[in-house]
């Protein structure tokens, strides 16, 4: 293992590594970027590099410390995530973390706290972290990981060293997937579908997104103007399961975006659903821009509402009725 094996993000990695080698690491970092592109991997890599007993300027991934960190069993590296069954990181967890950070490091090296999905910290939790973020106890590094900085308090953002990560280029994801035994064609398709997220590309098959997509797109296509019946029936089907509903909404946003992009550019290369070109071509011809705009807004709104536990079926019906409205 080593820094060189982390995929993509050359610039950010170089910068962190240099800072680490020169002993100029900031005490609080914020890694921002889409899901599944290697933010946590990099945070863990930095932790391993700090604690690796074999190498001085990199990490081996094989020594006791490295393996301990990988499996979450290292005394000086702590990963904070929502407790199982919870959707938020609570003030209680932050307090525990702060208490732990005041203790001396076990190995004599830096203590590292990684807060994964930092935006899931609720307001009290974020506020509670402020003082620690500004002036943590000696020899501590905090790494916050988030998909968007917007969900963090401005007071939090001002205390951290922000590093933003872009989606990985398709080429790199394709390469990685082919090296894992996928055929070139399949790899290219997956890379486009996951928009440069390796994490998503690796887990996509488990979620059966690919199979579902066909049904979903047929369903969205059936929502022709005035077809209220289809809207209500489809809404019932989609709203059956929370996770699936959220997955659907995420995909629907991308679908509408594809339609819009194709309508405007008439070009294929930026389309995400690469295998559904005929359908996209046909649908985009029938759907006005204005309807697409309002659908896109509604889709985001719907996912936000469902995350706030609004009745799923009602939210989806609202979305679909918008789609069948005559404009």
């Amino acid at each position: 293992m080593g820094f060189s094996e982390i995929i993509g993000h050359k610039k950010q990695i170089d910068m962190l590594r240099q800072a680490w080698l020169n002993g100029r690491l900031h005490h609080a970092y914020l890694f921002v970027g889409p899901d599944g592109i290697g933010k946590k991997t990099l945070a863990l890599a930095l932790a391993q590099a700090t604690h690796c007993t074999e190498l001085d300027d990199d990490f081996c991934g094989g020594c006791g410390a490295c393996r301990g960190i990988q499996s979450g069993n290292h005394a000086d590296v702590r990963v904070v995530e929502p407790l199982s069954g919870k959707k938020e990181i609570t003030i209680q967890q932050v307090r525990e973390l702060e208490k732990e950070l005041t203790l001396r490091s076990f190995s004599g090296r830096k203590k590292i706290a990684i807060i994964d999905r930092a935006t899931l910290m609720n307001r009290p939790a974020q506020n509670a972290l402020l003082k620690t973020l500004e002036e943590p106890p000696q020899n501590c590094i905090l790494i916050l990981i988030a998909t968007n900085a917007g969900g963090l308090l401005p007071t939090v953002r001002s205390r951290v060293f922000g590093l933003s990560f872009g989606a990985l280029p398709r080429r790199i994801v394709t390469q990685f997937l082919t090296s894992k035994g996928k055929s070139q064609q399949e790899a290219e398709f997956l890379a486009a579908l996951t928009m440069g997220s390796l994490g998503a590309a690796s887990k996509i098959e488990k979620e059966k997104l690919i199979e579902k997509r066909q049904g979903w797109s047929d369903m969205l296509s059936s929502l022709t103007p005035g077809n209220y019946r289809a809207a209500l029936v489809s809404a019932e089907a989609v709203a059956a399961n929370r996770d699936e509903t959220l997955m659907f909404l995420e995909w629907a946003g991308i679908w509408y975006r594809d339609l819009l992009t194709f309508r405007i550019t008439r070009a294929w290369d930026e389309i995400v659903n690469q295998d559904m070109l005929p359908q996209i071509e046909q649908q985009s011809a029938h759907t006005q821009e204005n309807l697409l705009f309002s659908l896109l807004v509604k889709t985001t709104e719907a996912s936000r509402r469902i995350q706030r536990n609004v009745n799923r079926r009602m939210v989806i019906e609202d979305l679909f009725l918008e789609a069948v409205e005559i404009h």
Binding site: D14, L25, A128, E135, G150, T261, I264, F293
Partner: protein, 551 residues
Amino acid sequence: MSYLVLARKWRPQSFEDVTGQSHITRTLQNAIRGNRIAHAYLFTGVRGVGKTTAARILAKALNCSKGPAPTPCNECVQCEQITQGSCIDVIEIDGASNRGIDEIRQIIENVRYRPAQCRFKIYIVDEVHQVTRDAFNALLKTLEEPPPSVKFILATTEPHRLPETILSRCQRFDFRRISLREIVQRLSEISGREGLRISQGALVSLAREADGSMRDAQSLLEQVLSCAGAENNPPAEVDEPLLQEILGLAERRMLFDISEAVIGGDGKRCLELVARAAEQGRDLTRLSKDLVEHFRNLMVARLCGEGAAKNLLDNEGKLLDLPDQEITDLSSQAAEVSVDTLLDYFDFMAAGDDEVARAANPRFVLETLLVRLTTLPKTLPVGQLIERLMQLESRLGSDGPTTAAGLKTSSPRTANPVRPVAEQVAAFPAFADKDQVWRNFISFVGKEKKLLASHLESGSVIAVPPETFTIGIAERHHLSYLLDAENMTLLKSFARRFFSSDVAINLTELPEVNVTRQQAPRASGEVGSEMVKEALRIFGGSIKGVRKENA
């Protein structure tokens, strides 16, 4: 000692070093000189403007062994301990982590004991807005009349979340946002001491990013230091392009390209530009923020004009804080569209920016937002619209009173009332296709007197003013209804209003029944044709025959 980040390393240690808050530091120093020290202070202001710093300096100034001095010596044991945060009589509490009533009770409990070594026992409660309601209430009595040796300093970014009862017990100081110039000055001082060569222009754009917060500015400078230091040979001076590269800012050029595409309504180009920015690894949420500012700048340039914007820059340095070349570019681009359109762009962009910042995939949201901007209709100023309407109206006047009448009803809010229909008829008598006039007359009557109009519908016109208004009625009962004295007066008054002159009306009986029968449904059929089609569509029927109501 481990590496300290800039914001901590360069934390001011005396009131003189605090940037941009002289209104506060002077007041505090004078208070110490005059021995008028309040027992509770509240420091408020946005992030990174010096609240905690000022609180610590105040603590030092009060407890300095050579004091209470307006300028702490920073040498005595007390000063040093406070700087290191190890003084036992200066208790800095994280209000957000210790927010419950139990923690506050502990404070109240300890307040009673005299300070161990220092003159005063000072409680600094940072992030105090997170303290719970009950805890605040428990603190009230102590905050109002603490023992003489106890001072409280509360600090928060959100004073509106404190109860009134707390606010009224504290001396409140509002910290300002720090001005661009002051941030630049401080940054150049720091970068000089850190051995970083950075151009003035780069410092200015760095300071602009910080948006009035010194800590944000220093964090950004820290990033520049990390990156510039990462290269092996000591790098050349950090200039603007390099800064943009390091911070992932979009080039200024790209902002202009995007706004040009938006103004030109070119959605495709917008998508291409966003794709390019993403490929270059630019931070898209920041790009979106920059665009909001850019559209604001365009609006300012459009409103003030090029010269004015430059002059304002000279006098105040606030309205458009940009190089001359950019202001020229802005003005020329803004000249292509109206202020209202620019306002629309700004509104949409500002509203959408929020979404971009919150989205899991900012790229798509930004794309959609920009495409949406390109499809916005270009709005015209209301004044210009009215003018156009008037022109249109005077031109349409020559085609017939229908449209003029339509305009009259559809634009009731225009300041200048549209000239009466009648005037137009009088002004353009030559147009008169008499059937047209007749139909208009009927609908004019129909608006107020449906029944009268329905009787008129069965008739046909024979002559219109300026000749005698002659109406032929085929069916006897219609004729007798119209000939009724009351109805005749009514009809005359309608005619007078419609033609805006006294009109003699002549009702004659037509002999050929068939002609009128034919005409009547045709006329009403024409009027209702849209409605009929819609009805057919909704009910899915077909026309079996046409029958007239009351006939």
